[in-house]
Symmetry: C2
Subunit: 414 residues, 2 copies
């Protein structure tokens, strides 16, 4: 008998029919002899509706009260699922974050889980109940309601699986699993059977929207066996797990892209110590997260520094640099919104040479100019002009032979 934590996202609980279908899946797993903890998101659209309401009051709503407001969405879905299960004679109880004591810090709207008191859940499981837990929410040390930020229900599920030493954490969503790239761009994108935590982290943070980044960090840290699968079909999904020998055979596992960044360049900065620290210290103090950074020194001993920031922070970043320009003795500040980042990801890169140059060659062959390059042990990213995004993804997908020419998985209803 295994203990399984299942998590269902917003589209999987979008209405009563969908919640009933979740109930059938829960019951099927239970009939296979499993103990079940089920974590739910709010109905799709509900959290946005509540946020919109709050933003009519103030574009930057009071954060403590925001969490009181938006945590109601999950409360509705867990009650409804528990009702449906009880109605089908399966004992079930819903719990809020504050009830099963998902303790977080007090960073409202983006809280981090610090502790889970598992006693109540294990007691409830022993009584034979399905335990239905509201995702996305917790409670701080003073009893205030907190939420974990967008996609936080994934983190709730993984954290519960870790705390309960669950045998498996199943993340149900509206896609079949993790793909080699976005199937909207490459129709022959292939669903991966398996991906390592590190690869998944790179894919997730690069914009593959299947799993919340923090949940993957959590899963890696506590070695939680994770599977991402569809709640609309019976596919096997994608297993997210530690690295193994097989994985290293594959040089590139997937192609990620991100069109939500913008590029800022400060030109003609005198090349002397402390300049980079001054620039990025000021940017960081403003709460702006910098991704890629490049610096090159020209013949006249002045440097150009270019970096990327989230597009929504571009205006603020440009203003900060304009303010610093005099002090730094820089020539000019240039902003560019029209960029995209494409990346190849794979743990096999660690043991294979020439992967980056193969990427550059493939892009060059299509006339795509590379604006910036950054690398990690298992990833190579290039900033390019935004208009080439789809082309670049397709070219790289082809180059690293990721396609599947078999037909797409049939969408069988459960």
């Amino acid at each position: 008998m295994a203990l399984i934590v299942q998590k269902y996202g917003g589209t999987s609980v979008a209405n009563l029919d969908r919640i009933a279908s979740v109930a059938r899946r829960v019951i099927a797993s239970r009939e296979n002899g499993n103990d079940l903890v089920v974590v739910l998101s709010a109905m799709s659209g509900e959290t946005d509706r509540l946020i919109d309401l709050a933003k009519k009051i103030n574009p930057a709503p009071h954060e403590r009260e925001m969490d009181v407001l938006i945590s109601t969405g999950e409360q509705v879905t867990v009650a409804l699922l528990a009702m449906i299960l009880n109605n089908l004679s399966v004992p079930a109880r819903s719990f809020l974050g504050s009830q099963v004591k998902i303790i977080t810090d007090s960073a409202f709207t983006r809280a981090r889980i610090t502790e889970i008191e598992k006693q109540q859940i294990t007691d409830e499981l022993k009584r034979g109940s399905v335990v239905v837990v509201a995702g996305f929410q917790g409670v701080d040390g003073d009893g205030n309601i907190t939420t974990l930020g967008r996609g936080g229900s994934d983190t709730t599920a993984v954290a519960l699986a870790a705390a309960l030493s669950a045998d498996l954490c199943e993340i149900y969503t509206d896609v079949e699993g993790v793909y080699t790239t976005d199937p909207n761009i490459c129709p022959n994108a292939r669903k991966l059977e398996k991906i390592s935590y590190d690869e998944m982290l790179e894919m997730a943070s690069l914009g593959a929207k299947v799993l919340h980044t923090r949940s993957v960090e959590f899963a890696k840290k506590f070695s939680v066996p994770l599977v991402v699968k569809s709640s609309f079909t019976n596919g096997s999904g994608t297993i997210v797990t530690g690295e193994d020998k097989d994985m290293e055979q594959v040089v590139v596992s997937g192609i990620a892209y991100n069109v939500n960044e913008a590029k800022v360049t400060i030109r003609g900065v005198p090349d002397k110590p402390g300049i980079a620290s001054r620039i990025f210290g000021t940017i960081a103090d403003a709460g702006i997260i910098v991704d890629m950074i490049i610096q090159n020194v020209g013949a006249d001993n002045s440097a150009d520094i270019t970096f990327t920031v989230p597009r929504s922070d571009l205006k603020k970043a440009t203003e900060i640099l304009d303010g610093l320009r005099g002090e730094l003795g820089a020539a000019e500040v240039i902003a560019d919104e029209n960029i995209a980042k494409v990346s190849i990801v794979g743990v096999g890169m660690r043991s294979h040479a020439g992967v980056a140059s193969e990427m550059f060659r493939a892009l060059a062959k299509e006339g795509i100019n590379i604006l910036m390059i950054s690398t990690s042990e298992i990833k190579v990213s290039c900033a390019i002009e935004r208009k080439y995004t789809e082309l670049a993804v397709r070219v790289l997908h082809e180059q690293f032979d990721l396609g599947d020419d078999a037909p797409l998985v049939t969408q069988e209803e459960l």
Copy 2:
């Protein structure tokens, strides 16, 4: 400086504009030097929407989960009011029933408050905050969410006022106060300046929908000074308080009516001991609440027993009596839906004779036949044919001189 508990009903928080208007009223009272605890209902219609959702699953939804579901409505409104107040630079914090520890029994969907731990609220007030509390909800000894039944937010407010020894509990609603009768029937109905707890209880339980009955019982038990007023105007409302000398001068304070009851008669029951107990024991076991009961014995030593039940329970009550008919040796069971109950209410009756006969005479003069009579110390009720309801109310209102010939209060916007 006074401590005031204010409660706003569903129509008073129906949308963001209305909640903003509540905020202005709260701030005005605060600027008069008062400490404020504000209790809110859900937006009007929201609780019904959630109940409908649950009833699609099962017409008798799982009660524990029902309370998890329907308690979200108040959570939304308290968060929004606290946001608006903070946005206007008035410190405010929202609290759920579980957070301020409104402890109840575990009778889900109709729980009763057993205890309130006031420490958190008084601490918050000392810090200068407006304390905004979700009405209608509590938490049982095991940490389960409970709700107090329809209109329960009134009870939350009165219970908080009692626990905190508040100087005043203001119940804001969409009418000007308590009227001598329904102004839709008698356009010259007069708003009462003052009414005793007991009179209010009779008026409320008879169908005057201004205050939740249980909240009045609570207010009476703990002598909470209560005022019912409109959140849409600046009227003075109606004070609900202990009896005083002035009140006893008035024989009849108001006319109530109720068209939601039905009448059942079981005819030809042998007149022997234990019959009534057998009938009403069985009816009570089915959870049906009986209101008026009359029994008369005919010449042949057989009795007719007639009683009223909520109209929604009529079918069930008739079935039960049909089942008992053989055992009791009764002749027949007759159901009648077409009745109404009209009542005169007033503490002055205690010290004035002839009030009941004056009522009967007034009805007789209009040819209205009296089907049943029941009396209490401060009330006389008559069941009549339903079609005469409005006529009877107008006749009695006139007879006891309750009308006001001054024009109705102007509906000034706040």
